[in-house]
C-alpha cells in the first residue's frame, strides 16, 4: 500500500463572528477532522454547502492559519514559515469559479507564469515562454492563444487555464475545489478526463471537493462525507455507495437524481426534514441529530466516535445497527 502523502489530524478552523461590541463568537467551520491521502490517490470530500469542505481545502494549503490541529506532509509536520513556504511549492489549488478566479487584466501567459514569477523558476524570458507553452499544451490549450485575455475564453477553457496555473510549480498535491460544477455537462466530462490523465502523467495526489456525487464517485478512490464541520463517514468509493452506513450518507446518496427514468421513479428516497442548522449554533452532540430519523437523547448530548465498520470504512453514528 502506498504511503501517506498528506495527513491532517484533528484540524480545526474557527472564524470569529462579531456578536456585539467587542464580543465575538467562534463559527466552527471545521471542527476536528482527521484524514490522510495516500500518494497518487484521489480523496473526495462531499457535503452540502456550508459544511466546511472548502474551508478544509483552504486550511490544508495554509491559506487560512489553522486554529488547531496538525498537517503532516511527506511525513513531516508543518511548523515553521520555511516549512510552509517549501510546502506551498508542492501543493496547489484549482478554484471553483473560472470566471472570478482569473485576473481579467492579465494575459493567459502571465496568468500561467505568475507562480513561476513568484518563485523565480526560470532563467530567461525564453525559458519562461517555453514553460508556458508546455503547460498550455498539457491542458489542451492552443499555444497561439497565450497573448489573449481570460474573457475571450469559454468556461471550460478558463478552467483549463486555472489548472495550468496550478500545475506550473509541478506540485505533488492539488486541492480541486468544485472544479467542474460551473461547467456544462458536455464540457464537464472533458475536464474530468483531463484530471485523470494528468494524475497518471504527473503522479498527482488530489483532494477533490465537490457536491455532485456521481462525479465524485467517478473520479475518487476514497470518499469522506462532511456534515457541519465534521467528517461523519469515510471509505472506499464503491463501498460507500453500495453500503452507506451513516443516515446522512444514506439520504445524500438516495437524493441524487439518476439519469434513468425507470430507476429514478422506482427509487426509494430517504427524505430529510428541514434544513442544515447554522454552524453558529450547531448541536452539542452529533451534528446530524436535528434531521436524523434515528436520533435519541445520546445523539443530542455526545458526539459519536469514528468506528471501523468494515475494512477501511469508518462511520460516526451511535445507531449504526438500527439505521441499517
Amino acid at each position: 500500500m502506498a504511503e501517506n502523502l498528506i495527513e491532517v489530524r484533528d484540524l480545526k478552523q474557527y472564524f470569529p463572528i462579531s456578536t456585539g461590541w467587542f464580543q465575538t463568537k467562534p463559527l466552527k467551520a471545521v471542527d476536528g477532522v482527521t484524514f490522510h491521502i495516500r500518494q497518487g490517490e484521489t480523496l473526495g470530500l462531499v457535503g452540502e454547502s456550508g459544511c466546511g469542505k472548502t474551508t478544509v481545502g483552504r486550511t490544508m494549503l495554509h491559506l487560512y492559519t489553522p486554529t488547531a490541529g496538525e498537517i503532516i506532509f511527506e511525513g513531516k509536520k508543518l511548523m515553521t514559515r520555511e516549512d510552509i513556504r517549501a510546502y506551498r511549492k508542492k501543493a496547489a489549488m484549482v478554484f471553483q469559479d473560472p470566471y472570478s478566479s482569473l485576473n481579467p487584466r492579465m494575459t493567459v501567459a502571465d496568468l500561467i507564469a505568475e507562480p513561476l514569477d513568484i518563485h523565480r523558476l526560470y532563467k530567461s524570458r525564453q525559458e519562461r515562454r517555453e514553460k508556458v507553452l508546455e503547460l498550455m499544451a498539457k491542458v489542451g490549450l492552443n499555444g497561439e492563444q497565450a497573448g489573449r485575455y481570460a474573457h475571450e475564453f469559454s468556461g471550460g477553457q478558463r478552467q483549463r487555464i486555472g489548472i495550468a496555473r496550478a500545475l506550473a510549480m509541478e506540485p505533488k498535491f492539488v486541492v480541486c475545489d468544485e472544479p467542474v460544477s460551473a461547467l456544462d455537462v458536455s464540457i464537464q466530462a472533458q475536464v474530468i478526463n483531463m484530471f485523470t490523465d494528468l494524475q497518471e502523467q504527473m503522479g498527482l495526489t488530489y483532494l477533490f471537493i465537490a457536491h455532485d456525487l456521481l462525479v465524485v464517485r467517478h473520479i475518487c478512490d476514497r470518499i469522506a462525507v462532511m456534515y457541519l464541520g465534521k467528517i461523519v463517514e469515510s471509505g472506499e468509493a464503491d463501498e460507500l455507495y453500495k453500503n452507506p452506513m451513516h443516515p446522512y450518507t444514506k439520504s445524500l446518496i438516495s437524493a441524487v437524481p439518476l439519469p434513468d427514468p425507470k430507476m429514478a421513479r422506482q427509487k426509494r428516497r430517504l427524505m430529510l426534514k428541514g434544513d442544515v442548522p447554522s454552524p453558529l449554533n450547531a448541536p452539542p452532540g452529533c451534528p446530524f441529530c436535528t434531521r436524523c430519523p434515528y436520533a435519541t437523547d445520546i445523539c443530542r448530548e455526545k458526539m459519536p466516535e469514528m468506528a471501523e465498520v468494515s475494512a477501511g470504512h469508518f462511520t460516526a453514528c451511535h445507531h449504526v445497527d438500527q439505521a441499517n
Binding site: 452540502e48 454547502s49 469559454s154 468556461g155 471550460g156 477553457q157 456544462d184 455537462v185 458536455s186 464540457i187 464537464q188 466530462a189 472533458q190 474530468i192 478526463n193 485523470t196 457536491h211 456525487l213 456521481l214 462525479v215 464517485r217 467517478h218 455507495y241 439520504s251 445524500l252 438516495s254 437524493a255 441524487v256 437524481p257 439518476l258 439519469p259 434513468d260 427514468p261 425507470k262 430507476m263 429514478a264 421513479r265 428516497r269 427524505m271 430529510l272 428541514g274 434544513d275 442544515v276
Partner: protein, 327 residues
C-alpha cells in the same frame, strides 16, 4: 386543443456585435397536466424560450416571428395589458436563484399577498389567509411567523419554497420552472422536486421544467425537448429520449455523464460550445459531432418523426436514403 402551442418561434437579441439568434424556429405543444422538460447547455435558448412565453425578454430581445398560443389565444403581439392578466394567474414562473428573485426590502407576507391582491377579488384579510395556506402547502414551518420575516432571514431551500408558493398562489394552468433546483443542495433538491410533483398532481397544472440536469428530467418529466444552439434536436417521451435517443447530441449528452454502474473513462462531447454570432450553415452540432457527414455541414436536417411520439432532426436517421452522400 393543446394548452400551450408554440409554432416556429424565432427570438433574436440585437447587440452591438450583431444579431444573436437565441431561438431559431422551434415548435412544441404542452398538454394539460403534463410535465415538459427542456434540456440543453448554457446558451442553447431554453431560458429565452421560457422568457418569450412570459414576454419578459430584455429590451434588446425581440420575438422575430412565430406564434405562441395559450388556450387558443395568440400571445405574440397581444400587448402588455393581456400579458399582465395572464402572468401570475394563468402562467407563473419560478426562477433559478431564490436569493435574487425575492425583494430584500419587503416581508415575505407582503410579497406573497401582492400577487393575490392584484389578481383575485380577495380583501387583505383573505389574502393573508390564502398566503398562510400556501406556505403550509409548500411545507414552510411556522407560516405566520415567516409572513413577517424578510428574505435574508431564510435559507435557500426555504426561499425556493416561498417562490413556489408565490407562483402557485393564484392556481395557474402552467408553471414554468427555470432551473428551480440548480442553486440548492441535493437533499434540499430532492425535497423541492417531490413537492413540485405532489402539487402538480393535486392542482393538475402543467409544468415546463427547464434544466441542464438529466437526472432531474428523468425523475420529473413526461416529455422532453433537447435543445442545442437555439434549435430543437430531438423531442419525445422521456422513455424514448433516454432509451432510444436518435440525435447524436442527445446520445453524446447521455454518454458523457457519469452513472452509478459504469466506471472507466467518460466519453465527452469534443470541442467547445457554439458561438451564436457565427452559426454554421448546416446542422449547428455538426462541428462537434463524431458521426458528422458531408450533408450535415451543408444543410440543416428537418424535423422527422421516428414514431408518433418521438421526433429528431439528425441526418443520421436518413443515412439509407442518402447512402451515396456519406463521407
Amino acid at each position: 386543443m393543446a394548452l400551450l402551442e408554440v409554432k416556429d418561434l424565432q427570438v433574436s437579441f440585437f447587440t452591438p456585435a450583431g444579431e444573436v439568434k437565441a431561438v431559431g424556429g422551434i415548435s412544441f405543444s404542452l398538454e394539460k397536466g403534463k410535465v415538459l422538460g427542456i434540456v440543453g447547455e448554457s446558451g442553447s435558448g431554453k431560458s429565452v424560450t421560457a422568457y418569450s412565453i412570459m414576454q419578459i425578454l430584455e429590451k434588446s430581445g425581440k420575438i422575430v416571428s412565430g406564434s405562441i398560443r395559450f388556450q387558443g389565444q395568440e400571445l405574440v403581439g397581444a400587448g402588455e395589458k393581456v400579458m399582465k392578466n395572464l402572468r401570475g394567474t394563468r402562467i407563473s414562473m419560478i426562477f433559478q436563484d431564490p436569493r435574487t428573485s425575492l425583494n430584500p426590502t419587503f416581508t415575505i407576507g407582503h410579497q406573497l399577498m401582492e400577487g393575490i391582491l392584484l389578481h383575485t377579488q380577495r380583501n387583505r384579510q383573505q389574502a393573508w389567509d390564502r398566503a398562510v395556506e400556501m406556505l403550509k402547502l409548500v411545507g414552510v414551518n411556522e407560516p405566520e411567523k415567516r409572513m413577517k420575516q424578510y428574505p435574508h432571514q431564510l435559507s435557500g431551500g426555504m426561499r425556493q419554497r416561498i417562490m413556489i408558493a408565490m407562483a402557485l398562489a393564484c392556481e395557474p394552468d402552467i408553471l414554468i420552472a427555470d432551473e428551480p433546483t440548480t442553486a440548492l443542495d441535493v437533499t434540499i433538491q430532492a425535497q423541492i422536486l417531490e413537492l413540485m410533483q405532489k402539487l402538480q398532481k393535486e392542482m393538475g397544472m402543467a409544468i415546463i421544467m427547464i434544466t441542464h440536469d438529466l437526472g432531474v428530467v428523468a425523475q420529473m418529466c413526461d416529455e422532453v425537448i433537447v435543445m442545442y444552439a437555439g434549435t430543437i434536436c430531438e423531442q419525445g417521451t422521456v422513455e424514448e429520449i433516454f432509451y432510444n435517443p436518435r440525435h447524436s447530441y442527445t446520445r453524446g449528452l447521455l454518454r458523457s455523464i457519469p452513472t452509478l454502474e459504469h466506471s472507466g473513462r467518460l466519453r465527452p462531447i469534443a470541442g467547445s460550445p457554439i458561438d451564436l454570432l457565427n452559426m454554421p450553415q448546416g446542422c449547428p452540432f455538426a462541428p462537434r459531432c463524431e458521426d458528422a457527414m458531408k450533408i450535415c455541414l451543408k444543410k440543416r436536417c428537418e424535423r422527422t418523426a421516428i414514431n408518433d411520439r418521438h421526433y429528431a432532426a439528425c441526418w443520421l436517421n436518413h443515412k439509407e436514403e442518402n447512402g451515396g452522400d456519406d463521407g
